[in-house]
Symmetry: C2
Subunit: 121 residues, 2 copies
DNA sequence: GCTTTATTTAACCATACAGTTAATTAACTA
DNA sequence: TAGTTAATTAACTGTATGGTTAAATAAAGC
């Protein structure tokens, strides 16, 4: 069982699933709604599987209404990714102001030990 | 061949590789430097492979200095991820100010067609 | 030239992942 | 109750991924 962040990143590592998220950012949608753009290329079970991956990664939640399973975006997982990204902001932003602020908070709290192993596997 | 963004996300979907990036955010490091925290658990060829994944995803670049291969973070790929994330900022931020601004730019340029298919596969 | 250090390649293995078709379940509709 | 719609499960297939050990390459150092 991989950690949640790995699960989330790997869910995002597929254009079909990213397109589904994009669709959901325009509002709730059922499984078949989500699958519509891909039905020429992909079977319905394949669609269900993709949705399940998004769900397991915490990126969406699924409810039940009659036969439908309306899905919507779940902010939690996206926030985790955003938080992780934040520590690298310095690398893609020209201004280093945020880095200064960040380094101040980090060097203040962390005991500055050697090579760290964040593994959970 | 998957698109670059998919390649990047899938490179980030592994705690070993994220730890390597974290190490690199503290400065350049050779392959064996990068592998040091994992050597109890993982062989050197495994390390090389992980580095290769990061490289292929555009997250790092590798140079050559004598026998060493000093690696450093490449901002490009991180920026692509950050840019992609930006469109979902509304979901994890309590303030919706940025959403307003974003929606203004998007609804202005996009012709507002039906279900879109961003696929490249 | 031989040895050591740093990294890579080759060959292999097990498991995970993305897709398929066929069958099944669940809830509504006539 | 029979039929339709929405989604899922089962069983299977091919390919990608993450690891291994053993062998090869490349640059330095003696």
């Amino acid at each position: 069982m991989p950690d949640t962040l790995s699960l989330t990143f790997s869910a995002l590592a597929d254009p079909t699933r990213r397109a589904m998220l994009a669709r959901l950012s325009r509002g709730e949608a059922s499984i078949s709604d989500l699958g519509k753009p891909f039905r020429k290329r992909m079977s319905l079970p394949a669609i269900t599987k993709h949705v399940k991956v998004l769900e397991r990664a915490g990126l969406i939640t699924k409810a039940r209404r009659a036969q439908q399973r309306p899905c919507k975006i779940n902010p939690e997982a996206l926030k985790d990714v955003a938080d992780w990204m934040e520590q690298y902001r310095q690398y893609w932003e020209e201004s280093f102001d945020r880095l200064d602020a960040y380094l101040k908070t980090v060097t203040a709290t962390e005991p500055k030990k050697g090579d760290t192993d964040e593994q959970s596997k």
